[in-house]
Symmetry: D2
Subunit: 503 residues, 4 copies
């Protein structure tokens, strides 16, 4: 019995440090703070100035990166990675950081993001004689770098990434330097900090808080930062593109104590909750968060609505990979392993459940069932983002479109609507953008359909269901809507997608 709830999953967290005599110890702490971004596997590569030292393992940071391991990861710079792995290829060969040797010397890399054209690129590289050890898109970058004639590794990296479309917050480690890069659209976060004279980079600021480092600034979209013994060298070598930051970081992925894209995640969520109360009010007795991700929005909802906030569903934080479900099966078993309602509080009451998102709807259905079994008179579901209707190509593990409940329960637009968006046929990168009127080279995979909220509500068994509007959500983050990637809610992608097909 798997404990993983029905959520989108951030595919990883990265951390790097340069110039600290306990680099791998600091990296382990940084990764521990980023554990929520990936729980399946983790790794660190350190440099002693001459050689790279690698350790990768399945498992959680605190288990896998033991004191013994850290002792062997010598040196004053290190990069590390925590990984959420999708099913099927969950082997050690996929665990980052990768570390290889090529004409530019030893080089290690870890990556948060996704390269939509990696499969295509991989076929090209294989034709050109490359051998692949993993199924990872990140490995194509290493091949590109290795094959690029250049005066040094920095030039090679730059050349390759100039040609690379997609989402990449990347850390490279060489024996003498750490390189941090964020793609021109800045899909995924990456921040810069300082610790006792050492530089550190991380996916989220919460990693700096744990090690008591100072948060300096975001690494900017399109920025390439080389950190070596001479200090920090920033450049912007890539063609500028419209920013397109992932709003789901604010909705769910990031820790609420992080500052992402310059904004407090907790504040975004609180405002989403408030806005949700305005847009989707409810006559009820209690506002109850689906823990833990619904807490901030639920408090916002309660504050705005004046309803009573109570933490009436308790989460068991002890984890276990698998449990045997008894043969006489238990109602809502998978959900019960993590969540339990407080019956005394719920019994006889009208409850507003606040959750951050609904993906397949399976977990929501069980939660509603469980809350009803606890005696709730009415169960109203409120969701602090719009219906998720389209998969992500930029580093988030999403189910295929057909498994997204909001895509399944929708009135499809009239035939031809998509064509209208994406004409002319023979679509090439950049064409669609002007046709569709969105960001420079964006494309619409599916014409916006009208989600059948009522059908979803019935499926999950709630008395009512309300989603936050796209505008309301964006407003809550305080970010400029023009700089936001909203593809999972709109089906409008800021880049071309290979074959115009979902992954």
């Amino acid at each position: 019995m798997d404990l993983v709830l029905d959520k989108f999953h951030e595919e990883c967290g990265v951390f790097g440090i340069f110039g600290h005599h306990e680099a791998s110890t600091i990296a382990q702490l940084g990764l521990f703070a980023l554990q929520h971004r990936g729980q399946e596997a983790c790794g660190i590569v350190s440099s002693d100035g001459d050689d790279l030292h690698q350790f990768r393992s399945q498992g959680l940071v605190a288990d896998a990166l033991s004191e013994d391991v850290l002792k062997r990861l010598i040196g004053s710079s290190a990069i590390g990675h925590t990984r959420y792995s999708t099913a099927g290829k969950n082997t050690i060969k996929e665990v980052q950081p990768f570390s290889v040797t090529c004409q530019h010397g030893q080089i290690a890399v870890c990556h948060n993001g996704n390269l939509p054209y990696a499969a295509e690129k991989r076929r090209e590289l294989e034709q050109a004689g490359a051998i692949f050890s993993s199924t990872s898109d990140t490995e194509t970058l290493l091949h590109g770098i290795a094959r690029t004639p250049a005066s040094d590794v920095y030039e090679a990296i730059e050349k390759v990434l100039k040609e690379t479309e997609g989402a990449f917050s990347l850390l490279f480690l060489t024996p003498k330097s750490l390189i941090a890069i964020r793609d021109p659209r800045g899909f995924r976060p990456l921040v810069l900090g300082k610790l006792h004279g050492a530089w550190c980079v991380a996916s989220e600021t919460c990693a700096f808080d744990l090690i008591d480092a100072e948060y300096i600034r975001e690494i900017e979209a399109g920025e390439m930062l080389i950190i070596d013994e001479n200090g920090l060298h920033s450049s912007k070598p890539f063609i500028e593109k419209p920013k397109s930051v992932c709003i789901f970081e604010h909705v769910y992925f990031s820790r609420p104590d992080s500052t992402i894209f310059g904004k407090s995640v907790n504040e975004s969520r609180h405002k989403m909750g408030k806005q949700l109360a305005i847009e989707q009010p409810c006559d009820a007795d209690l506002v109850v968060p689906v823990p833990d991700s619904g807490v901030a929005a639920a408090i916002g909802y309660a504050n705005q609505s004046g309803l009573n906030y109570r933490q009436a569903i308790i989460r068991n934080h002890y984890v276990g990979r698998t449990f045997i479900e008894p043969s006489q099966s238990i109602r809502s078993f998978g959900v019960r392993l993590k969540l339990n309602p407080i019956k005394d509080l719920i019994n006889g009451r009208r409850v507003v459940l606040v959750d951050d998102s609904i993906v397949r709807g399976t977990t929501s259905k069980k939660i509603v069932e469980m809350v009803r079994d606890a005696g709730a008179k009415e169960v109203h579901m409120r969701v602090s983002c719009p219906p998720t209707i389209s998969p992500c190509y930029y580093g988030v593990d999403t189910p295929c479109k057909d498994d997204l409940i909001a895509a399944r329960f929708s009135s499809p637009p009239a035939k031809g609507a998509l064509a209208a968006f994406n004409s002319p046929p023979g679509l090439r990168r950049g064409d669609a953008a002007s046709a569709a009127g969105w960001s420079a080279d964006g494309v619409v995979l599916s014409a916006p359909a009208e989600t059948n909220i009522q059908a979803i509500c019935e499926y999950i068994g709630a008395d009512s269901l309300g989603y936050l509007s796209l505008e309301g959500m964006l407003e809550a983050t305080g970010l400029d809507p023009a700089t936001a990637c909203t593809s999972c809610w709109t089906g409008k992608y800021p880049t071309l997608i290979p074959n115009g097909k979902a992954p």
Copy 2:
């Protein structure tokens, strides 16, 4: 670097099931739900009707009690235990359930509670030729039973426990039966449930929720329940004594979704928070719980006071036994591994922190420091129970009196005050009770001193500090104050204590 925060620690959770064809699987789930009562070690003994099968291990339930282990724990009845171990004797020999053979056949036992006279009893037993494999008080019971001539094991158990003073919620397993017993004062909880025709017993009702069992009732103080193929046999063989249930179960130990001593733990905590707001009001901008145990009280506090409730301290739930602290040490390192404040929320604000208790004060000091570092203008600490001034003899791991900050910072009463309470000298069991005018055989170890709240406040670095009153706390639980053990707050013990000395 140890992650354990400065709390009193419940010493264990117990679970038993009789008459279920997947007994050990159910027991594992039950123990998983009771994991918060002990994280160091766990074990299960099952019976196949003829023989007992034992497995014990260090570690968490979900890791230690793997599918392979459960397969070997065959049979339709089982008892299990999760353990919090105090330092020093953390070896496998101490892990329960114990399982031995004696003249009454095979017998296994697990125990939540403590026997204050076990050391004395142990010396007697050793003089009489007993050998001890562990340092556990529970082992003395097994010796007693083995040495008691009786027509059957039930009679032997009854005879021994009639002579045993202390706190014991006990589960025994024999090849043919499960026996559940709660001491006459009912210090620790024990509840009875039913699952598809099988009987189950547990420390808390939350264990029943996970397996979807029906909560039937508390096992009563002084009740001995024999469950065998003929069903349930209840008796009350022990001399009746005044009830003395552990209020700390409601303050901190139990899960908020449990019903303990017939009362909802969450409701108690919520009311404690409300009462705390009445008794110890505060002019501030935010009410912030110290997660997770302070949440319910903080919501109560906010509701009552009208102050803004915000979850401004985030808890990292990923656990790790040890982390290496960097040599350039990190401010509040131990606390930071678990807790992180949201700076944007706290910065420039006056914050009321609500915690359930303060033990040594060390963690509170670090939390206050951390919240100030996050920019708080003022930090006010509110505690949802009275100052803890005296150690527990009834199954809770408490530091010695000198380490309790509220005991250290107190104005000692005039000399002779204690004598007045506990006269005459040459104290024997029962004497003190009448002298002191409390429960039948109670005793005061230390005359009530006046806690120097201001000194504690200064120590932890808060702007103000307020504790909930004893009366307020008891009122909040809805329990009859006459049936409550309050010794850790009052120094008044419901039983005599060996030598009148702290453990």
Copy 3:
């Protein structure tokens, strides 16, 4: 597929050291040298002068007793144990040394031998109120000691062992002393050595060789040796009994480089081989040992007979607990995992196989088959001890009588023959001895039957089969036949056996 060959199994090896600052490290090395005496589990208890420290584990010495473990086993004295475990009760609770606390303080024990009356004693002790944690006979000794009023632990041990019948080479460790005892008949070996001023004791002298200790002497039958900071104290507190040393130590159990009962094991085996050649000559081309235990006797056989000695069966020394046998099963699979014949050498030749003993015959059958498959023209089996017809009660794991091939294939003596040996009926300890004319309290379980060698030969598929005679074997050891236990070959036991029944 189990790799254990069909042999009698020594049940354990013991090692102790007193007065060495690296006691547990030395003990680990000593146990490593005694690994052949037990491969299932091992343990060490050390003393730091005040407290005992225990570690026990399944597995081999070099795996289980790691550097980390040894670091925690502090102190300057230690005892250790390697264990061969019989099926069924292979749990950690059975692994020695045991370590308990009783009225005589902390005491640890490990035992090589067996107490035939332990089950009876256990029932008595249980009736008297003892609780048993293991199924081991050794635990009864601890109960006896704990129950014996005495001025000190030494007196208690002495009193208990005075009343104990059976085979015991025992090491006790207390915080301040090491006690080494060998039963009055001296069934099992125990030797004393010296290492840089520290005293050490071991089952075999090969343990001294590895640590470069000096072999001083045998610990004598009936000797009790107390080693403490004042040095060595020897006494002989037990009633003297006729010596009865285990000849199988020379035949198979001990390492050939050990000196056992004052005699070189290798020399015994070489002489057994020579005598076997005299008694059971053979016209053949090659003498081939069944490795490794048959090597010394095979060389002796070859030397005496003038036949060509060749090591034509190779042993794979890499071990593995279990292998999966393919579904299309492999001929002689279990044996093949350990042994492989050299075809070029065997093909077309007449081969004499020399083995130390035949127990069930199953392995011998497969070896003969395998050698024939390798092309042998004739296969003649020669065994360097007599037919084993009766189980051991003195510390050796033997199959029950019905599984001993030499007992199964025998002509039973006329009815009444046993009675004649063991009269009068109502046999009590000591009676039989005089009746039968053997050692003081010996008894015959089964009247000597005539083994049907031809039937065994046919069963194992050999062309001929010859056993060494009892006289020839004893003569080869150089030991006084009157001091030898030969019960497994003769059915004549030097002690009474409970109920006169086989185990």
Copy 4:
């Protein structure tokens, strides 16, 4: 304290099977039989017809390739590898079989041998854009294959190996086929067998014996064997070269029960021993093998000389990676962990020790010392091969020349002697061959020096020392001397060596 004795080390064993429904189970057994060829790490790649499945691990076959692992290695074909790893780069990335994807699809490889020009080739490949995951020479082959345009993977492999100099017994696995290749000189062994209709290949025939497969024939030098569902396809695509089989396989590496290069290893060793007795006779009382590798030669020596053969040194076969040496160090500690002399047998006697080879001399020195300490009157060392004076470039782990005792203790030839052999300067592949008059493209790294046997004898502390002559050794194998690689004894290499430098 490391247990590895002072020997040359075979670098690996390979096993493959095609067309068996339990392919990975059979492969595990095959590797178990080849464990002596590499004990550090092992791995298997299986094919289910569509995909390859890989598992690699540190450790021994029976530990690492557990039942759980085998269950996941599904499919009816498999290749496996056992590895001896040299110091420094002992990481999981170096463990074979490697498994990658390239333009020719999925491909796995394992390799016994060495490619002397791999470092050079690697630099070329890196310049051409290749990335390396390991330090292994085998990885260069994969890059070569991936970069070779070809109609199928077989053609690509063929093209690459045509250009590859060195020693390679290779197994490739693709989803649909198994490919077995032996280099044109046939340095290392590789044999073909048949099991119930499935084909199998292995480094040695002893792997076939365990699984009861039939030995068909050697895979010939220069042969490429493709096994797929259509059966066996043999070709000889490479330029024919003079055979150059590794004689050390007969001296030490292979198991005595194997047939290598068509000859019985045991018979070779027996004859080496006999010839050694003729060339290097000795007046002594006992012939004693250094176990286990010296056994066959020692028996031969005894048979020829008429001296008494006794196994007077016992080997402890229980292994352990490391032991702590006590601070008061033990004489000959490292050797004692494995070997122990039988004092009774050695004391006062003149002993001939027979060993297969002397590498650094360090172990020999300790053995002689240990035998003297056991009381030997004289210790004579006899070695069943010539002095080893030059490192191996063909798949054997040898120390550098300066660490070879026979190279250190030698009278260097007059200056210019080497030049005379290897002229003209500016040596290119092939040139030296004609100059020196040896095999087609051979080269002499060091002119034959005269080994100072007396100096070695003094160093190891023996009374006399005798080596077998080159001619005598070759004669004993029954192989045509013209087909033998003797470079480690002669310094004459059958191929050019990069830079003419030792590794």
